[in-house]
Symmetry: C2
Subunit: 334 residues, 2 copies
């Protein structure tokens, strides 16, 4: 079995061959193939640009519903789309551990190519580094994305306003519970899969249908509660959600009860929180499907000197104040 050697990161012949024979074969396009140190993209319109980056250190590398390659595209295009940007180009950088099998890299590159096609975005530049055995964990991936924001689109976590509706585009927790199961954290089989998916084309459709969208945010690490609390803090508003309206798949719910996890803190890789002016709810359902649900409402502006509050009405009718995630539930879920 061919494996990664230190020479693959040398800057010399073997690295060049590796890039030409392995990476370009999977991801080639005219910009990337030019193979200069910088990718050059022509003829931008006079518009706003969005830029975002994430490093992916997920473990295990392959899991039900996806792998590190799929995540590394979806996570970054989904972040771009939170600003309403249309993804334009991605960079791709590998930190490989000596001894990592080339066959796994090929499989990961296939996933990257598929996800990039789904998202309709090109990888235009990249980098490969290799570290010694025991100084990494197979492969870490960084992607950086840029995109352009159409005129009149103004979406930000700073824009939530009192009276706005809080929606979720589908059930939460599937990604993190998948990772837990894959790591042998629980003893029983489930059919739960990661929800990793590029959502940018859906955001594009949604923004063409309505100008009522204020905030789009993906509840990744830290989950729904941490993401909503961040919106509270940025927009200086209180947010009220109802536990019974939050979509959670029954199997995810069972696992959570079994091990004492709280779904509102579980990471997702293919869901959005969408905050919108009342009246635009149906557009979200049209685009994201029937799994989308209204889960709450933006309350009052927070009072001067008081931190904004995220309050969840529990299924038993009580009120619970939610903060950001305090202690990591499962490390390396993306």
């Amino acid at each position: 079995m061919e494996t990664i050697r230190l020479n693959h990161g040398s800057g010399g012949r073997e690295m060049h061959n590796f890039i030409s024979n392995t990476i370009l074969k999977k991801l080639g396009n005219p910009v990337l193939e030019k193979f200069d140190d910088s990718a050059v993209m022509a003829n931008l319109k006079n518009t706003r640009i969005a830029m975002t980056t994430d490093s992916y250190v997920v473990s295990p590398l392959f899991f039900k519903g996806g792998d590190i390659g799929r995540l590394s595209v979806c996570g970054t295009v989904n972040d771009l789309a939170t600003s309403g940007a249309v993804p334009y180009a991605l960079s791709l950088s590998f930190i490989l551990e000596e001894g990592f099998p080339l066959a796994k890299i090929e499989k990961i590159l296939d996933s990257i190519a598929v996800a990039a096609k789904e998202a309709d975005v090109k990888i235009v530049t990249g980098d490969t580094k290799v570290v010694e055995r025991g100084k990494g964990d197979g492969i870490y991936i960084n992607t950086c994305g840029i995109g352009f924001i159409p005129e009149n689109v103004n979406i930000s976590t700073h824009n939530a306003a009192p009276g706005d509706i809080v929606m979720l585009t589908g059930p939460i927790g599937n990604h993190e519970i998948t990772m837990l199961v894959e790591r042998g954290g629980i003893d029983f089989e489930t059919s739960i899969e990661s929800d990793a998916a590029p959502l940018n084309k859906k955001v594009e459709s949604l923004l063409k249908k309505t100008d009522g969208i204020r905030v789009i945010k993906d509840p990744t690490r830290g989950g729904l509660a941490s993401a909503l609390k961040e919106i509270c803090d940025h927009s200086m508003v209180n947010i009220e959600i109802r536990e019974e309206d939050i979509p959670v798949d029954p199997e995810v719910e069972s696992v959570c009860e079994f091990i004492g996890y709280d779904p509102v803190y579980l990471a997702n890789e293919g869901k959005y929180i969408i905050i919108l002016k009342e009246g635009s709810e149906n557009h979200v359902i049209d685009v994201f499907g029937n799994e989308s649900a209204v889960i709450g409402r933006i309350g009052k502006m927070s009072e001067a000197g008081k931190p904004p509050e995220l309050i969840m009405e529990t299924e038993s009718g009580g009120k619970r104040r939610l903060g950001m995630l305090e202690t990591i539930q499962l490390p390396r879920i993306c």
Copy 2:
């Protein structure tokens, strides 16, 4: 001593505090402080954009003349400038190992801030991941950069033409020999320092002085020979250089003789190969100083079906054909 814990990468409160208290304190600017998942930059002109990325895995993290933070800015802005682009924004992503001291991160962030100021570029977005002890090596950094290419600037490794002059902006090998010395690879003390420096402002000056510049390339991993061979291959030309004209500091030369390294394969972090129309040499010396030197010339177009050749006239008067670096001399030098 405070050290990195898994919670620092959790997506929760501790990560937020870490970003606010540690990272934003060092690198804050209005775009980054907005703290949305995507950085949004306003009002681009109708122009070409350049994008480049590198992950930095250098070992040791701190060395004479620089550290991983300085490298992670210089390497990326220098790559942007190879296309003639004026750097506009950088992303910054950390993969931190559990147990890595915060004090070192602060020191690295200081270096990043200083180098970004020298390069006149802003860090607009970032990410932090933490891996378990033994799954990394303290800190790995990725930066991605975008920049804009002024009108009429057309610089690429594909542009070298027969008769062009090959220059080097200063002595080679200092960065890689510094890394060798720092790792205890040789027994004697030297005063050699890494040359890590942002060169983009110099490129801007040069391009204002002359339109004779065809190729700018930084001889990093793989060194001068690998970089020139890449230019041969991209431009389909032969290149002839003279060993005696290649600037090498005496101490670097001594170390190379002592351990059998070849300076033309040593990595640099603050030098450029510049290929230009005859007559523009003085502009390079004006901008990059007296250490710049003409080291050769572009020969004929390579013959159909024959690979382009890089030929070095040796100090003894012989001719040596140089290829790309075959075997890594020292891993993790950037």
